[in-house]
């Protein structure tokens, strides 16, 4: 396999995942190979059941791969920020405390943790909701809290698993703009799972397409649309051509 461009931050090599139970083996992922450059925004696109979440769970260390391996550059201090499809907030913590959690786990002093969480509140535009309980938040607000929590400890890799999948269309598109501007400010490396072609094209530098089970990468598409991306771009011929390619790859 030829070497990809210089020093990827994440290198995934012939990764496979098999779930075995009494009914036999279920091949979720097969020989998945790709790499991500620092500060790159990569979207992982695929039909439901193609193993997208499984891949993210493996990279987050929640699940061991059945075969293959993945390596992080400078992996001795790898910090992961993860956002799930559901906001996954702790109902007994208010917004600020939820965002502080990763810092508390790292042993950051409360004062400093509070200050950094406050910065995140401003980043995701939640001023005034510091003391709100999760049960009182709308879906979009809860997801913004989850995003702030994933960013607060300054992770080297952001893993997003259909973070806007449970939001209504309007909120979702507003979140794209916000995420895109946050990403431009913070320059994080992002791997985001989605099953929406427009979402992938609106946000990503590159789109990886997974096939139906067993998931396997069938297209690695560079998205050469200028940034910042606007709503209008979605109706441009080039956007249409890229969307066509993705659609054909998904099958």
């Amino acid at each position: 396999m030829p070497a990809s461009p210089p020093t990827p931050i994440l290198l995934v090599e012939t990764l496979s995942a098999v779930f075995s139970d009494e009914n036999g083996d279920l091949h979720a992922l097969q020989d998945v190979t790709f790499s991500i450059q620092p500060q790159e925004f990569v979207c992982l696109l695929g039909p439901s059941g193609s193993g997208k979440s499984t891949l993210l769970r493996i990279l987050a260390g929640l699940l061991p791969p059945t075969a293959g391996k993945f390596t992080f550059a400078g992996s001795n201090h790898l910090r992961i920020g993860m956002v799930f499809q559901q906001a996954n907030l702790m109902p007994w913590r208010n917004v600020l405390e939820n965002i502080m959690l990763p810092l508390e786990l790292q042993g950051v002093l409360p004062d400093q943790a509070r200050r950094r969480a406050q910065e995140m509140i401003e980043l995701v535009n939640l001023q005034g909701f510091e003391n709100a309980w999760p049960r009182d938040l709308s879906g979009g607000m809860a997801q913004r809290v989850a995003l702030a929590r994933a960013l607060v400890h300054d992770p080297n890799l952001l893993l997003l698993d259909e973070p806007f999948g449970s939001l209504d269309a309007l909120t979702r598109e507003r979140m794209w703009t916000e995420l895109s501007s946050i990403w431009q400010k913070r320059r994080k490396t992002v791997l985001m799972v989605t099953h929406s072609i427009s979402e992938a094209l609106f946000l990503a530098d590159r789109v990886l397409v997974l096939t139906q089970r067993p998931g396997h990468i069938c297209l690695d598409l560079k998205v050469d649309l200028p940034r910042p991306r606007t709503d209008d771009m979605r109706y441009s011929p080039h956007f249409g051509r890229l969307a066509r390619k993705l659609k054909d790859a998904i099958g």
Partner: protein, 269 residues
Amino acid sequence: MDLNPFRRFALSSRPPERRRSHWTVLISLGLALLAWEGTAHLAGLPAFILPAPAEVAARFVKSLSDGTLLRHTAATLLEIVLGLLVGTLFAIVIGYLIAKSRRFERLIAPYLVATQAIPIVAIAPLIVIWFGPGMFSKVLICSLIVFFPVLINTVVGVRAVPRSLHDLMRSLRATRLQILRYLEIPAALPIFLGGLRIGATLAVIGAVVGELVGSKQGLGFLINAARGQYDTALVFVAVFTLITLAITLYGVVAVLEAKFLKWQETPHP
């Protein structure tokens, strides 16, 4: 205070409803007292069968001023608190292990089922025979009776912690101890406190049963002694003190719930 009698036995994870109508409660209590006073006088029953409220009140003042009531109440309260503490402690440790390990559960479940099949009240005499009429046997009965409801709720509470939050903690590289402190304890707390609420009420029963079987002090002892002297007014005083104790303990847990569970939706009837 929550006086709804059904709530106390429900494995509820919600804090008790706020008191809305203390006037209704006061009026109904007043009517009950009146009815009692009337029955005692009109039926012409001797005082050793049904003392009038006034006599009970007088007996209460007397037992309070000569120190008897306080001494026995203190003894019972100490037994209850110790029993509650010991029973809860064991229930938490064993409950947590059961929740976390199916193997441990399989190992210990038969014994737990067996002990639950024995009515504690029926073996209280044995416990007093074995461990004497002192405080120890009462604390033991109390903790045995408290143990099970708290254990069950600990297991249910810890098992109910969402897997997705476990995933979150693991993605943040949390240690086992951090998972316990930041996730499992706060997540299991509502259900656990529901168990403690039941345990607190049962602890009072445990202590009194033990004292009635054989003891040298405590409200159960006082009831026995007063009955022996046909001092029925004093029996009433002791019983009312017990009721007050039970309600207070129940209230303490309710206050804990209000303090720790303020993030939960307060139920609107």
